[in-house]
């Protein structure tokens, strides 16, 4: 049984179709904790003590957010800056997060084809996430493949349902089963870890 912590960062949640649907799909479980960072820290004054405590209590950490300018929303960056302290998360004696798994659940306006060497954005999603991957690695965490929702502006209702049920199944599977770290680290996306046909 794994405990999952979802750190959610969206500066305009009320206008986001896909994130509202995704958040709604999160199972109500004692093993899953959902924290809405923009709701908790509208003044960007992240409560370091409380956030550290949360991290220690969970095995799998999820950064859920939209991708803005190929990066995370500013409050999530603030969270990383403030919470992942030297001597605690990294550096000498910084082993607090060692062995935990972490990955991103993100939405992007462009389709998957756009995020490729030949596409308009020239790099893949995983390449854009490299700073986060390295942050996790520096903190001795296992960085896993992201769960990605592409083409958010053009999603049909059916596609949203498809993504949200996938997300829900993923969370249940992560809680209930041991995480295959090796294969999930190497995969391009987390999306296919669950098979909806089953």
């Amino acid at each position: 049984m794994n405990k999952v912590l979802i750190l959610f960062a969206h500066p305009l949640f009320e206008k986001s179709r896909i994130h509202q649907a995704l958040v709604k799909a999160i199972p109500n479980s004692p093993n899953i904790t959902f924290r809405d960072l923009y709701e908790l820290y509208p003044d960007f004054n992240v409560n370091i003590k409380a956030e550290k405590k949360m991290l220690l209590e969970h095995d799998i950490i999820i950064w859920q957010h939209p991708v803005y300018w190929y990066s995370v929303p500013p409050l999530l960056k603030q969270w990383i800056d403030m919470v992942l302290e030297f001597g605690w998360a990294y550096g000498p004696g910084g082993d607090a997060l060692s062995g935990k798994k972490i990955f991103n659940v993100i939405s992007a306006g462009g389709q998957q084809a756009v995020y490729s060497p030949g596409g308009r954005n020239r790099f893949t999603i995983r390449q854009f996430l490299a700073p986060l991957e390295q942050t996790a690695t520096l903190c001795k965490m296992h960085y896993l493949a992201p769960f990605v929702v592409h083409g958010t502006h053009l999603l049909t209702k059916e596609q949203i349902v498809e993504y949200t049920s996938r997300y829900r199944e993923l969370l249940i599977k992560l809680v209930e089963n041991p995480v295959p770290v090796e294969s999930l680290s190497e995969a391009a996306y987390m999306n296919d870890y669950v098979d909806l046909t089953k």
């Binding site: 003044d43 004054n45 409560n47 370091i48 003590k49 800056d81 403030m82 302290e85 030297f86 001597g87 550096g91 000498p92």
Partner: protein, 621 residues
Amino acid sequence: MEDSFLKTALVFLASAVLFVPIAKKLGMGSVLGYLVAGIIIGPFVFGFIGEEGDDIMHVAEFGVVMMLFIIGLELDPREFWKMRKTIVGLGTLQMGITAVVVGTLGYLFLDFSHSVSVAVALALAMSSTAIVLQTLKEKGISKTAGGEASFSVLLFQDIMVIPILAILPIIAGPGNHEAGTGHSLMGDYPGWMQTLMVLGAVAFVFVAGKYIVVPLLRIISKTKLREMFTATALLLVIAVAYLMEVVGLSPALGTFLAGVVLANSEFRHELESDLEPFKGLLLGLFFVGVGASINFSLITNEPALIFSIVPILMLVKGIALYITGKIFKLKMDQNILFIILLSQVGEFAFVLFAFSHQLRLIDNYWTEVFMACTALSMVVTPLLLLLNERLIDPYFGTKESLVNDRDADKIDEHHSVILAGFGHFGSTIGRFLRANGIHATILDNDSDRVDLLRKMGFKVYYGDATRLDLLKSAGAENARLLIAAIDSPETNKELIQIVRKHFPNLEIMARARNRYDAYELIDMGVKDFYRETLYTSVHMAIDVLRKMGMRNYTATRKGMEFIRYDEEALEKLSKHRHEMKDYIINVKEQIEMQEKLLSEDLHASLTTDDHAWDSDSMRKL
């Protein structure tokens, strides 16, 4: 033998006190209790009140007068405008169908002339606002579809009485008015002149309300004597009623108009809550009077006639209501409620019959018969409602739940937040909320300020927010939030206590002057309190740090951190405070608390708490 006033009052009040609780206990509602009390003490059972019943009816009719004034006051013109289609549509259908069918029946079977048929039909199309509103309120069904439809129809009928009263003299024709009783100014003039006078009186009420009454109320409110305000409110209603009586119009309508005129003034809530107890009592008296005035000798003389008119009449009204409800897509259970609620003939029929009689339009005999039928139909309504509630309604699965009905959308937007106190503190909140599209119901008791703010387009009501009745009329029962922002901490706490006791579901957000204020609010169970002396001082202290050379962002972060720390410390120390035996904080204890606070600061080591962006610690290695 002349009964003394005391004896009459004794009989009335005793019968009401005896029968109303019994009726309530039996689930019949207060209206039936009053009516039965009236019948029992009336001339045909015990005869405690006899011939003077007429005089009592005059006094009691004043309850109806007040009720209409308050209905007028409660009519928010914007709300009215939103409902206009429903009101006019439902009302026209109900009155039209009923009047046409009743008129035709009267013309065909009772040998009435055209004009008599019209007069009778219009009077009988009325339903009883007094009974229905009282019932809606008691049963808590005002907000159901059936309740709202009923209110719309009643409103339409009440308004329609004005043109009907204006038209009746014309229908009566020139030959009749000369024989009028002449106790009004109007009787001596030809029909067109009377119609003109009616319109003139209505116009006068509008103009006088706006340019005489409101300024007068402002002057009175400045005396800060509550009983003076009550006296003025009563004077106002009585004066309007008297004026209407002089020109031969229904006093109830005059006061209804006066109410509508004043609905837009800042004194709306104050007037409403001042007159409410009078209205309730007089309305009760009115029902007792109706019960007492039922002419049982006429009923025993003409049982066949009366007992066929009442059911046929109610059936016709019921069918008209059924069709109306169907067209407006009421669900079956709501439609049945709508039918039963409005199937009786109302108090305005008394007015219209009396007026028609005075115009010699309807003769003595038929006036008596129809008045008896009206009173009987009023008695039947509570019984039918009881029957519906016990036997019919449970069969419907579509029962509208009141809880679901109160969706966020359904709650009138500008009533979901009440802001008490509009001084410097409260007005800042009000401005900010308004800038973001939230229009709070504002209560303030400085009439100069109220006046000014109203000119600036705020919805501010004048009144003492710690008064339960005022809170009620400001919508405290349905509001989501109450912001207690009154300048005096004592008044503010008094308000919070009243709200917590009477409206336990209303969430309170409170202004606290300082930490001692805050302790008391914690003790009262208030979770959201805001200390005036915390945020401003910290913001100033941040600027001090800045002027001393600290970077703005760092100083601001330290300030925010300090606020969080101080709020936690407040919780902690509030518990410590409970360990002290005496709750009254004296100077010595204040110093003790301050000391504890300062030593707490030392332990907290506020500056070493976070290392973000700080590479000093790395360099040390």
